[in-house]
Amino acid sequence: MEKVGRFGVHGGQYIPETLMHAIHELEQAYEHYKNDPEFQAELTELFNEYANRPSRLYFAKKMTEDLGGAKIYLKREDLNHTGAHKVNNVLGQALLAKKMGKTRLIAETGAGQHGVATATAAALFGMECVVFMGEEDTKRQALNVYRMKLLGASVVPVMTGTRTLKDAVSEAMREWTTRVDDTHYCLGSVMGPHPFPTIVRDFQAVISKETKQQMLEKEGRLPDVVMACVGGGSNAIGSFYHFIEDKSVQLIGCEAAGRGIDTFETAATVSTGKLGIFHGMKSYFCQDEFGQIAPVYSISAGLDYPGVGPEHAYLHDIGRASYVPVTDDEAVEAFEYLSRTEGIIPAIESSHAIAHAMKIAPKMDKDKIIVVTVSGRGDKDCAAIARYRGEDIHE
């Protein structure tokens, strides 16, 4: 049998029979609309007029001078409407769902950014919206819960398991099996069963498409390094995609190491996980010796996921991209550093990529160029980081 949706051994469609019909329906609709000029024109219009694309490729002059090595450019996904890259995928999927005649969007969310983006698209398209969010995360990101409600969505706190992102994904999948007729599951990352990893990647690939063009305009050449943070890996795959064939461009994904990859309190999947099958895909997962999914940890609710998208697992296998762990401490330092140095408050997720840039830029020649994707803005994280630093601030 021909295997669809594979990235090497990774990917696939490991889902209950109850969802196969809906998944095939989505697959067929996407095959049709991805080549439909009208669909693409509508999506571009939404990207440009509604989401504020193209996002800026900003030369971080002060940071570059301070670190004293490679030139650093920041791809400013934080300037998108709703404050993160998540909107790229959500506008694409919501438009697709509307074309398919769906009237209801469901989504999982970790930090709340994908939930907010989905609630936003649902408001724009006049669709019903239900967001599943781990109860633990509803506490960490209370303001985003309010935002989703303000946008007309209902938020369901998930009380099972570790009450974080993986449990929210499980619960959204359960909800989808209950109601597939009118409902589209707007999955937030390049994960889950085929065709989600491909659909989400294609919608996020606008990041690298723009970066490439902007870099050629500004520098007349390709960058030497492109890096982004990786949870499921949607902003990273979007940042990498149009550079995958350009072998001179080094691709680096920055995983959340939490308190360190030698501790159990980590979410660095490529560094600490092993091959497995979960949430509809074959990929790397943090798990115990009997295949029980591990309770992962990161200061960042958006990277707090025990798996990684199948295309990243494949890029890792073939050595095309490398994946590095970044700890909570390093990410928090980067969060503060970028705020102070460039006047840009990055999301704690994106701060993982900033942290790695701070490590490698000083060791590189001044004629080298690094692009770091700032996947989201950090306003949502200020209270949590203040508490991490011992201040008694609550939202």
């Binding site: 490991y14 029979e17 109850t18 019909h21 099972t160 449990d167 359960r174 099996t177 099958i277």
Partner: protein, 256 residues
């Protein structure tokens, strides 16, 4: 001929589901023996998984209790060895793909054969992915059970043609758990299956009362009951086996 066929030889089959190690392995052993003495024709033994995405709250709870009690795949195998000393009816495992995959499919399925497990139900292995495990299942003569859902439609024929052991018909959309009403149209699904295979059909998801069981048994060769039994374990813990026995008797009597 699959050993599983013998479960469908005593009128309509009654198939209880029990999560291994909920709340401990001794209770599982007693519950299985009680169920068999009271008319169960085949037992579906659940191997707990941390994130059972096809389960409703009741069976999720059983998974959590069993894992908290320290159950592991190896301990489940030991439990089955003990069960096999007392029970001769067909036994199948219900678990998730990662439990089998992480153990090593060959090692897992080979052990199934060795300890007397006759089939495997893996809800996150649909038709499209079954060659992940099926060639190994064939090698060890363990049936990989196929599932059919209300939305399977034209997929029913494709799935049924290659089905082994029995076909698990999912009664209605959603996850496992008790329901007050179950979708109709199941006899159409069974007719489609009958056009291409004689493999027996059992209906599961949402069946909790003798009345529902009797109704479902009209359409198929057997009924599968999970959450209603797990609920007894949730409420009575180690004292549950006797109640499970009388519940199984009432269900088997209703479908005879």
């Amino acid at each position: 001929m699959s050993k599983i066929a013998s479960a469908f030889a005593n009128g309509k089959a009654f198939i209880p589901f029990i999560t291994c190690g909920d709340p401990d392995v001794e209770t599982t052993l007693h519950a299985v023996v009680e169920a068999v003495q009271n008319g169960a024709d085949l037992i579906e033994l659940g191997i707990p998984f941390s994130d059972p995405t096809a389960e409703g709250p009741v069976i999720q709870g059983a998974n959590i209790r069993a894992l908290a009690g320290g159950i592991t795949t190896d301990k489940v195998f030991d439990l089955v060895r003990k069960i096999r000393r007392e029970v001769s009816i067909p036994l199948v495992f219900m678990t998730y793909a990662n439990v089998v995959f992480s153990y090593g499919a060959e090692r897992f399925i080979g052990t199934c054969k060795e300890i007397g497990i006759d089939g495997l139900i893996i809800p996150d292995i649909p038709y499209e992915e079954k060659d992940e495990f099926e060639p190994i299942c064939e090698k060890y003569d363990v049936d990989l059970i196929s599932m059919v859902a209300p939305t399977s439609e034209e997929r029913v024929t494709m799935i049924a043609k290659e089905a082994k052991g029995f076909i698990y018909i999912v009664s209605s959309m959603g996850v496992t758990g008790m329901r007050s009403s179950i979708a109709t149209g199941l006899s159409d699904v069974v007719s489609r299956i009958r056009e291409v295979t004689d493999v027996p059909c059992a209906i599961g998801f949402g069946i909790s009362t003798p009345e529902q069981a009797a109704e479902m048994a009209k359409a198929a060769d057997g009924v599968i009951v999970g959450s209603a039994i797990v609920k007894i374990l949730e409420e009575k813990g180690t004292q549950a086996p006797e109640s499970i026995g009388s519940f199984v008797k009432s269900m088997k009597d209703a479908i005879r």
